[in-house]
Amino acid sequence: GDSVTQTEGLVTLTEGLPVMLNCTYQTIYSNPFLFWYVQHLNESPRLLLKSFTDNKRTEHQGFHATLHKSSSSFHLQKSSAQLSDSALYYCALRVSFNKLTFGAGTRLAVCP
């Protein structure tokens, strides 16, 4: 079945350093859609980014990601981490309209 694999566990960064959270996926469908959600403490997941066409970069709130079908990846990046970026990040895969499959989540902790 469809699956999503993310950077495991906790990623700890110093403020100002670049962020990269890995996301790879597996599916038999040729036209997947990938999403990044962010969940802050005591909140529900909120959409951060969504993929467009193959090899096209998408950006929002300083974060960016590019869907690469050749490597089945949709890594999340940011040039400079901020304290407010500390949260749980989920990568999600959608191959049909009725189901979104989430990765296990990566917790990002940004320290001063």
Binding site: N31, F33, S44, P45, K50, Y90, V95, F97, N98, G105
Partner: protein, 113 residues
């Protein structure tokens, strides 16, 4: 205000009781979902409905049953709760197109004593 609304926010109950959670969306979406987020923060889909019809029914215990009166409402009933049902239940909605991202409600936190 347009959003996904869930009630209650919290519910504490005892093993064996029946509970019901409500979800309403005012976004005009045609697809609604129930997800379970466990203590390890794993997000698993339970059910999804499109225009009131059940589309996805993942492997969940039979004591869970979704109920949809129209495309704006999707409720969840748990007939006889078990300790492992303690979790956050998240309702979401979206348009039924591949690149449309589901929008989540605030969630219902269930504690089973």
């Amino acid at each position: 205000e347009t959003a996904v609304f869930q009630t209650p926010n919290y519910h504490v109950t005892q093993v064996g009781n029946e509970v019901s959670f409500n979800c309403k969306q005012t976004l005009g979406h045609d697809t609604m979902y129930w997800y379970k987020q466990d203590s390890k923060k794993l997000l698993k889909i339970m059910f999804s409905y499109n225009n009131k019809q059940l589309i996805v029914n993942e492997t969940v215990p039979r004591r869970f049953s979704p109920q949809s009166s129209d495309k704006a409402h999707l409720n969840l009933r748990i007939k006889s709760v078990e300790p492992e049902d303690s979790a956050v239940y998240l309702c979401a909605s979206s348009l039924g197109q591949g690149n449309q991202a589901p929008l989540f409600g605030e969630g219902t936190r269930l504690s089973v004593l």
